[in-house]
């Protein structure tokens, strides 16, 4: 069984009735890293949000199955507990709540939903210190409010730290590479690669072939006008870089 199956998904903005996804079909195998590329406004972030369960979107047709089970009726936190993780394109600031507190609250909330006990303090500290160290995140950042006063690149690194702590089964990285300098891009990619495993799948949304030199995808999907218009190997990214999206936006029309 595939880990994630998105079947003929149609999604509208709830209040406006504006249609964003038009029969999107996509399958992610266990352990697979899939890149999603596509023009601005093609629905990449919308897909990511709908997977994570953000309110405000109406699924009018189709289904999303995780391990063969529909997740459409699950609350965002239930999806998280089942292993869905979204690294946000624009991470949100939570003033006054230290990253450390946030992470521990999130981890324990997930564990509780899964019927596991709380993580012990020493175990948690060890986990965070190790991962933060590898990602070049210092203690001061961990004590500050979540994402408050973080630079664009620091926010992206903090998202990967959260992923490393929460150990999801399917991680969606929405433009995690945008805003990163050359060194940070390498650090973040290494962080992501460390988390690759036969048990964990990833959807990497990006505009730049460059990221895919670091995080080498098993498969590349092109999204245009709310559906997958082409699927290929990692060389597809190079082709897109050379030719742009013109042919797909026309095809999809």
């Amino acid at each position: 069984m595939s880990l994630l199956e998105i079947k003929n998904l149609h999604v509208e903005i709830e209040d406006e009735g504006k249609k964003i996804l038009n029969g999107l079909t996509l399958t992610i195998e266990k352990g697979q890293v899939a890149a999603i590329m596509g023009p601005n406004g093609s629905g990449k972030s919308t897909l990511a949000y709908v997977l994570a369960g953000r309110p405000g979107y109406a699924v009018t047709e189709g289904d999303i199955l995780l391990d063969g089970e529909s997740i459409l009726d699950m609350a965002p936190n239930e999806r998280a507990a089942k292993g869905v993780f979204l690294a946000f394109q624009y991470p949100v600031e939570v003033p006054g709540v230290a990253t450390m507190t946030f992470l521990r609250t999130a981890l324990n909330a997930q564990r509780k939903l899964r019927g596991e006990g709380e993580i012990s303090t020493p175990e948690f500290l060890k986990l965070v210190r190790a991962e933060a160290g590898d990602l070049g995140i210092n203690q001061d950042m961990l004590r500050r409010g979540v994402n408050v006063g973080f630079s664009g690149g620091e926010k992206k690194r903090a998202e990967i730290l959260q992923m490393a702590i929460l150990q999801p089964r399917i991680a969606v990285l929405d433009e995690t590479d945008s805003g990163l300098d050359i060194d940070a891009l390498r650090i973040v990619s290494e962080g992501v690669n460390r988390l690759r495993s036969p048990e964990r799948s990833m959807i990497v949304i990006t505009h730049y072939q460059r990221l895919l030199n670091y995080i080498v995808p098993d498969v590349v999907h092109v999204l245009a006008k709310g559906r997958v218009v082409r699927t290929g190997g990692k060389e597809l990214a190079l082709e897109l870089e050379a030719k742009g999206y013109a042919q797909y936006t026309d095809e999809a029309a």
Binding site: A52, G53, R54, P55, G56, A75, P76, N77, R79, A80, A81, F85, L86, F88, P91, V92, E93, V94, P95, G96, V97, A98, M100, T101, F102, R104, T105, A106, L107, N108, A109, Q110, K112, L113, E118, T121, P122, F124, L125, L142, R143, G145, Q162, L166
Partner: protein, 507 residues
């Protein structure tokens, strides 16, 4: 921080509008006859065996009160209070001031145990040590919080003080900590000198009423140069039906003294409204410091707005000496109506006043709270940090007054007032008044009102938190600056309370 998951457990355990402290203690009590007249005042005074001067003081207040009118300027609405339809004194029957804890009625001890207020000294020691043990993680949230060693407790049940702990140890340090009814007997010179010297009997309708009928409360005197060896605490409990509670607290820090004082309160759930009109007076002499913290959790009424405590309280501190400091920290979560403005008179040169407040309203609660900083002395400094959180159908008003007198050269104030709205049926209001009669005064005011953002909640939820856990976390972040001002044990308690108060506010 560890309190958050715990909080959520607690929130899950209770149903909406189930107030944890709402039980009634079954204990026979003796009451004054219903209603209020000179005889009621005489009855209370006689019950307390008071000297003539005290009775005269009360009677004068009572006569004054009869000429006064209930204030209407606050943004709160409530049915007319019938002052004749209430009892003004209730005490557990056969009550004699206990000589030691061994003499306290076991039923009362059990009540306080249920409330989580341990009166047995050894339990306090054990309990506090356990709570105060700093977790390594506390560092992130609790940074800057002080962990106190031990807490001495004075427990007030309806109209009388039922137990005071650690009396002996305090006595050795020279600190007087006792029910005010006892202080009137044992330290009349201090009472005569200070009672009513900060909040005069004529001050306002509710304070004047309190002056006439107050039944008990706490008295603290910290002598010159003494740093009080432990936190002092009073725990107020209304048990009787139809009974008002009018306690009176007087705290004096003599030159160079320091004291930190905590106040907590709860009441049973009852359908009718009950009146609570307390007066707290603080006096700080030269170089003295008083830190006064309150966690107010009176019964707020049910989900339909029925019942709950009417809380009309006058709290004022007088920085009477030079370089003195008074700091008020309050966490207000309970009461149907809150009318409360802990204030500072900055009389001494270089004196400093602080007000840190978290006021939470949910359901049909109405809060009108804030502070007054009256700058009289030179180079006086005040600081106001107020965090209002409104949920449900509640109304939450911050009302502040900052004034600088003509001779208050170099007076400075900083005010920061933030409001957070949860849902769209509640209201937040900010009413700041500022008045400088000295041109060198510098007043700074910052204010913000925000709605708890959907994006923030979704972000937390996508990481595994439920809507309630996410709200609790966001709110705890919002009030962090004020929570840090509380002693550690209180901060943890307050944090739990905040989450419980917001129960049912997110759909």
């Amino acid at each position: 921080m560890p309190a958050v998951p715990e909080t959520v457990d607690r929130v899950r355990q209770i149903d909406v509008d189930q107030y944890k402290y709402g039980f009634v203690t079954d204990i026979e009590s003796e009451k004054a006859p219903k209603g209020l007249n000179e005889d009621t005042v005489r009855f209370i005074s006689a019950k307390k065996n008071e000297p003539q001067w005290m009775l005269d003081w009360r009677l004068e207040a009572f006569r004054r009160w009869q000429t006064m009118r209930e204030p209407t300027w606050a943004r709160v609405h409530y049915p007319k209070i019938d002052y004749q339809d209430a009892y003004y004194y209730a005490a557990p029957k056969a009550f004699k001031a206990p000589k030691s804890l061994a003499d306290v009625d076991p039923e009362l001890l059990r009540t306080y145990e249920k409330l989580g207020i341990p009166l047995k000294e050894q339990e306090i020691l054990a309990g506090v040590r356990k709570q105060g043990e700093p977790s390594q993680l506390d560092g992130d949230m609790m940074e800057g919080m002080r962990s106190s060693g031990r807490v001495a407790v004075d427990a007030v049940f309806d109209s009388v003080s039922v137990a005071t702990t650690f009396k002996e140890e305090l006595k050795r340090a020279g600190v007087i900590f006792m029910p005010i009814s006892e202080a009137i007997q044992e330290h009349p010179e201090l009472i005569k000198k200070y009672l009513g010297s900060v909040v005069p009997t004529s001050d306002n309708f509710f304070a004047t009423l309190n002056s006439a009928v107050f039944s008990d409360g706490s008295f603290v005197y910290v002598p010159k140069g003494v740093r009080c060896p432990m936190e002092l605490s009073t725990y107020f409990r209304i048990n009787e039906q139809n009974t008002g509670q009018f306690e009176r607290t007087l705290i004096i820090a003599d030159a160079g003294a320091y004291v930190s004082y905590l106040e907590g309160c709860t009441a049973p759930m009852r359908d009718e409204n009950q009146l609570h009109a307390a007066v707290v007076e603080l006096v700080a002499l030269d170089d003295a410091e008083i830190k006064y913290s309150t966690v107010q959790n009176w019964y707020p009424g049910d989900a339909d707005g029925k019942g709950g405590i009417f809380n009309f309280v006058t709290k004022r501190g007088d920085c009477r000496g030079k370089n003195s400091k008074i700091s008020w920290t309050q966490v207000e979560t309970g009461s149907a109506i809150t009318w409360k403005y802990p204030s500072c008179i900055l009389r001494g040169d270089n004196s400093r006043g602080e007000f840190y407040s978290i006021a939470i309203s949910n359901g049909y609660q109405q809060v009108d709270s804030g502070t007054k900083m009256i700058h009289l002395g030179k180079n006086t400094v005040s600081r106001i940090i107020s965090k209002g959180i409104s949920a449900g159908k509640s109304q939450n008003t911050y009302r502040g007054l900052v004034t600088a007198h003509r001779r208050a050269t170099g007076a400075r104030n900083f005010t920061n007032c933030d409001s957070l709205l949860i849902g769209d049926k509640c209201g937040a209001h900010t009413v700041p008044y500022m008045e400088a009669k000295n041109s060198s005064a510098v007043f700074e005011h910052e204010a913000s009102t925000s709605k708890i953002s959907e994006d923030m909640l979704f972000y937390c939820q996508s990481r595994g938190m439920s809507a309630e856990e996410a709200t609790a976390l966001v709110v705890n972040g919002f009030v962090k600056d004020v929570l840090q001002q509380l002693p550690m044990e209180f901060a943890v308690e307050a944090q739990k309370l905040i989450s419980i108060s917001l129960e049912g506010s997110v759909g």
